[in-house]
């Protein structure tokens, strides 16, 4: 796009800011309700147990209780899950995690609902638990599901791996562990369900996939999805944590039993933490080989992801991690064995970065060590191995779209954090403190990937006075896409942003445009709006009117449809990667960061002082929005690297509230300087790609590299708490997890994993029962 643009690329103020700033009831958990009743969910008392009996008689008899529901009241399929419906809506035979739901209550007040939960009698027979993902692979481990603990095995081998390691000048081999990060969106899961007078079921619930949610609800109710309407935008934060059903299924069931009254559920913080999905904890054993001249030769990895009791998006998370196991570098040989396994540790699912931060910290840390052993500058070594357009990625994907690597690395090199690192490190004040600078580079596959239906759709309605309503099912979860959509529409329609109202997340207004995940929302929505806007412009022409206001009048006069629809299918790679469903992606976002940290050698405390964050957006639709995403991503990355972990011991949660689950405050996050790079993506709307997930990915390796640079210890387990850093500095044996015993277990796990007979063959069972809504037909 060479022509002058009015709205695209401008830092337009958020269109949703005034209402949010004034405290207007924009969130669905704030909806004013007439004659509401209140729902609660009975959660399991054990992480793994057989259910012998559920008796709801006493609870039902409590005055003020409207209904008590169990699995017997699920009319359709008693299961849900984005990929496979392995999670019971209400448990019947056994519970597999503390967050499992057994019964639902609706009552006149929240307090009566809580009292009713206490009156539901459940007899359990506790079962042995499996709370270690590596142990879960081994034969003889307690089974979370009858079908075995391995949910997905993905193995990719490329090139001459053994030979490459034999010929390598340097081989680095370490084991890394990443934590069960919690999303900790400020608005916990909640919403309202109501059976409407016209027989429709309406659900108001902040979410990330309205149409898929609706389909899942329809399946468990045994209803026609068209009878269900989900309103799902905006959300008080999501980050992937509202991608799966959260409470829609409970709202739906309860709403069928409250006589048309609205029923509200709003989870407490503890319940949200225990029942909601988390970032998959990973164990990554990674062995990286390089030649004496610094050329990367081979990458070998054994990856175990803990999906907890149910699959959710565990399979795709594992596969995306594996797709990025070689990062932004050329690796002619690859051997990766990955497992996504069931345990009784809550449930894991989608979280910004989607598996990539978990493997990238291993890769980038290994590369730093290669650089040290070869006496090379870490940035220069990376430059030498960067994938160029036309190269194959580590998994063998031809990189044919805009590759932002080079530009991103150059911007990083020119950032003050990197360029002036010597002076910045020397500026330390207290003699017991040390400073260091580290870097991380990344790419992130955009969209859902090969073979998974991925499409966008939008509607545009012409309103009296020549204003517009733009409908798109993709939600505003805080990222600013509502503003970006208004900008796309205003640009394409030639109107003012203020003349565009964007309606999001309403299944009753617009067609299915898929999820607000996978860094796909600007690309998908932008493209869909541009295509739809062409039809609106055509409508204008057909009326012969000079303005939209006049066109509206003409259209009404002639009885023309004033609402136009458009859709498109995402571009995808030509060839799939055998044995790895959903791989590869076709378009990637790129990013890089440099972090300056200060380590207190007396206590092990790490303060991140500044981060230079480079993102390749293709085209920044709203640069201020890009910076906001960059700063927020870094903050979540700092939490991931230094402080956050949902601690689960023997299946039980030890820090489920915000007093003891620690996330960064304003005093903990660094000053972030964002550098935007625009490597035009010809397939994207106005050249844009997407960048929402990118900024969380390089933060952890950059910080780990900076810690090493400061005090000479490599962290292998995140979060790098003061205690872990201190123990590592002291050379305390407790800091060394990579013991011969662990290596023996890994070897045993690899054997057991490859030998396991899987219930479900790799790559199968992932077909999703959905397609674009063909409203135009």
């Amino acid at each position: 796009m060479t022509n002058q643009q009015t709205w695209i690329g401008k830092s337009v103020h958020r269109v949703d800011a005034p209402a949010k700033l004034k405290g207007e009831p924009v969130y669905m958990t704030d909806r004013p309700l007439e004659n509401p009743c209140f729902g609660r969910v009975l959660r399991s008392r054990y992480p793994h147990a057989r259910i012998l009996r559920i008796d709801t008689a006493k609870a039902s008899a409590l005055p003020g209780v409207i209904c008590v529901l169990t699995h017997k009241d699920v009319p359709g399929l008693n299961g849900f899950g984005i990929v496979i419906p392995d999670q019971p809506v209400l448990c019947f035979d056994k519970v597999r995690m503390m967050g499992d739901a057994l019964a639902l209550v609706a009552a006149e007040t929240p307090e009566i609902a809580a009292a009713a939960l206490d009156l539901i009698e459940v007899d359990y027979e506790p079962l042995p638990i499996v709370d270690d993902a590596l142990a879960a692979i081994m034969p003889g481990s307690p089974l979370v599901h009858e079908t075995g603990n391995i949910h997905l095995r993905t193995v990719i081998r490329r090139g001459e791996v053994a030979q490459a390691f034999a010929e390598a000048a340097v081989v680095v081999d370490h084991v890394y562990f990443t934590p069960r990060q919690a999303h900790m969106f400020l608005e916990t899961e909640g919403g309202v369900g109501q059976l409407m007078p016209n027989g429709e079921l309406h659900i108001w619930c902040p979410a990330q996939a309205a149409f898929r949610d609706r389909l899942q609800v329809a399946r468990l109710l045994g209803w026609d999805p068209e009878r269900i309407r989900e309103y799902s935008s905006p959300s008080g934060g999501a980050f992937g944590g509202k991608d799966e059903l959260t409470v829609q299924h409970y709202l739906a069931l309860l709403a069928l039993h409250t006589g048309g009254r609205p029923v509200k559920i709003h989870l407490s913080r503890e319940e949200s933490t225990v029942a909601g999905i988390k970032r998959h904890p990973f164990m990554v054993q990674m062995r990286t080989a390089a030649a004496a001249d610094g050329t990367f030769l081979a990458q070998e990895a054994f990856v175990v992801a803990d999906t907890g009791a149910y699959a959710s998006l565990g399979g795709p998370v594992l596969n995306l991690a594996i797709e990025h196991i070689g990062g932004v570098y050329r690796f002619p040989s690859l051997n990766v064995e990955g497992y996504c396994v069931y345990t009784n540790n809550g449930i894991s699912g989608a979280f910004r970065g989607f598996g990539v931060p978990q493997v990238l910290v291993a890769l980038e840390s290994n590369i730093d060590e290669i650089a040290r052993r070869l006496g090379r500058d870490p940035l220069d070594l990376r430059r030498q191995n960067l994938i160029q357009r036309g190269d194959l990625s580590a998994i063998g994907n031809p990189m044919t779209t805009g590759v932002g690597n080079q530009a991103v690395l150059e911007a990083l090199e020119n950032s003050p954090t990197w360029k002036e690192r010597t002076a910045k490190k020397a500026a330390v004040t207290d003699p017991w403190k040390r400073r260091g600078v580290g870097i991380g580079l990344c790419m992130q596959g955009l969209g859902l990937g090969k073979g998974i239906p991925d499409y966008g759709a939008a509607v545009i309605e012409l309103l009296p006075g020549g204003k517009f309503k733009v409908g798109i099912s993709i939600q505003e979860i805080g990222t600013g896409n509502q503003t970006a959509y208004a900008q796309f529409a205003a640009e394409a329609l030639g109107c003012d942003v203020a003349d565009v109202e964007v309606i999001q997340g309403d299944t009753g207004y617009s067609a299915d445009a898929g999820t607000v995940t996978a860094t796909r929302s600007v690309f998908t929505g932008g493209k869909a709006i541009q295509i739809t806007a062409e039809k609106m412009v055509a409508l204008l022409r057909s009326t012969g009117a000079e303005s939209y206001a006049a066109a509206y009048a003409v259209a009404r006069e002639r009885g023309l449809e004033t609402k136009v629809r458009g859709s498109f299918a995402w571009p995808e790679a030509d060839e799939e990667i055998p044995g790895a469903f959903g791989l590869p992606h076709h378009i990637y976002g790129y990013g890089a960061q440099a972090a300056l940290v200060e380590v207190d050698t007396l206590t092990g405390e790490v303060q991140v002082l500044e981060v230079a964050s480079v993102v390749d957006t293709g085209k920044s639709i709203n640069p201020m929005g890009v910076e906001g995403q960059s700063e927020g991503g870094v903050a979540q990355g700092v939490g991931l690297a230094l402080m956050e972990d949902t601690v689960v011991r023997e299946g039980r949660f030890l820090n489920a509230n915000m007093s003891n689950y620690i996330i960064p405050t304003a005093g903990d996050v660094p000053k972030v300087e964002t550098f935007i790079v625009e490597v035009h993506e010809e397939k994207g709307p106005s050249g844009a790609k997407g960048m929402g997930e990118v900024p969380i990915v390089p933060t952890m390796p950059a910080i780990f590299g900076a810690i090493y640079d400061a005090v000479g210890v490599q962290m292998f387990r995140a979060p790098a708490t003061p205690e872990r850093v201190y123990m590592a500095m002291m050379g305390d044996p407790s800091a060394t997890e990579d013991t011969p015993a662990l290596r023996a277990r890994i070897a045993e796990g690899r054997r057991a994993g490859l030998a396991a007979q899987l219930h479900q063959t790799e790559g199968e069972g992932y077909a999703q029962p959905k397609g674009p809504e063909d409203e135009e037909a």
Partner: protein
């Protein structure tokens, strides 16, 4: 018990408050800033049938200096402490700790008396009170007023010598000496709003030292060996500071929890003392 079965009473005077406590004994509990109490109530603990609201009792608001004592009323909030000119002059150590409690919103509600009554070993104002050798004023209708040295006040986590009919009314202590060196330090899992893993209150004058640690024992602890060595040291070079700081290891008895291991906490008692000494002595 349903939460709705509990009752909050708001007596208008100390006498009236004491009457509630005397009449209802274990069934009544004082409620000050509610910043800890409310969390416990929500967690299903501390479900006292009667809460006696004392936050606004005029008798508990004093902050004054007389006869060698600085006296701070039990309902004085952290916010008032850290803004007080009197505290800046007589107990900057206590004011510094108050500044580290929770957040500005917690500081606006939480009270010094509440911190004592909750009796958490990690309570941030308690190590300074140990270092100040403060006394806790307790009052009952039957027994009148008594002053208990702060070190004798705590029996263990959540347990104090306060009888059910008594109310903490005030804290008193001798002012810090002008020119005295002092340091408040806190180690948490993040920069703000963190429960202490280890905390330290340090006072140093020629021939005089007070060292108190929080969160490394069932109650706040005085490190008397460190104090003795510090008060006898002739000169403070780095080696001396380090060797004295290392003694703290033997004076604490931490436990492991979700925040930190006992071993780390023990090391950190030494580390905070070393860091604190180096900061105040510039070595």
């Amino acid at each position: 018990m349903l939460l709705s079965e509990m009752k909050v009473v708001a007596p208008g005077s100390l006498t009236e408050a004491l009457r509630w406590l005397e009449e209802h004994q274990d069934r009544a509990r004082p409620l000050a800033g509610a910043t800890d109490a409310m969390v416990r109530v929500k967690e299903g603990q501390w479900r006292s049938p009667i809460w006696v609201e004392i936050r606004r009792l005029p008798e508990l608001q004093r902050m004054d200096q007389a006869d060698g004592w600085v006296t701070v009323g039990a309902a004085v909030t952290y916010g008032r402490l850290l803004r007080s000119e009197l505290m800046a002059q007589t107990a900057p150590l206590l004011a510094a700790a108050a500044r580290d409690v929770g957040s500005v919103q917690i500081q606006a509600m939480g009270t010094l008396g509440g911190n004592l009554g909750t009796a958490s070993p990690a309570g941030d104002t308690i190590p300074p009170l140990f270092a100040l050798e403060a006394e806790v004023g307790l009052c009952s209708r039957g027994g009148g007023e008594r002053w208990v040295p702060v070190e004798s006040f705590f029996l263990g986590p959540g347990r104090t010598v306060r009888r059910p009919d008594e109310l903490i009314t005030a804290v008193r202590f001798a002012p810090q000496a002008p020119g005295e060196r002092w340091k408040w330090q806190k180690l948490g899992l993040r920069g703000a709003q963190a429960i202490s893993m280890v905390s330290l209150a340090l006072r140093l004058q020629p021939g005089f030292a007070r060292v108190a640690f929080g969160a490394v024992g069932p109650t706040v602890l005085r490190a008397r060996k460190c104090e003795a060595w510090l008060s006898q040291a002739e000169a403070f070079d780095l080696a001396t500071v380090r060797s004295i700081a290392q003694m703290a290891w033997k004076e604490v008895a931490p436990i492991s929890d979700v925040r930190a291991s006992a071993a780390y906490r023990q090391q950190m008692a030494c580390a905070l003392l070393e860091r604190g000494l180096r900061e105040v002595l510039a070595v």
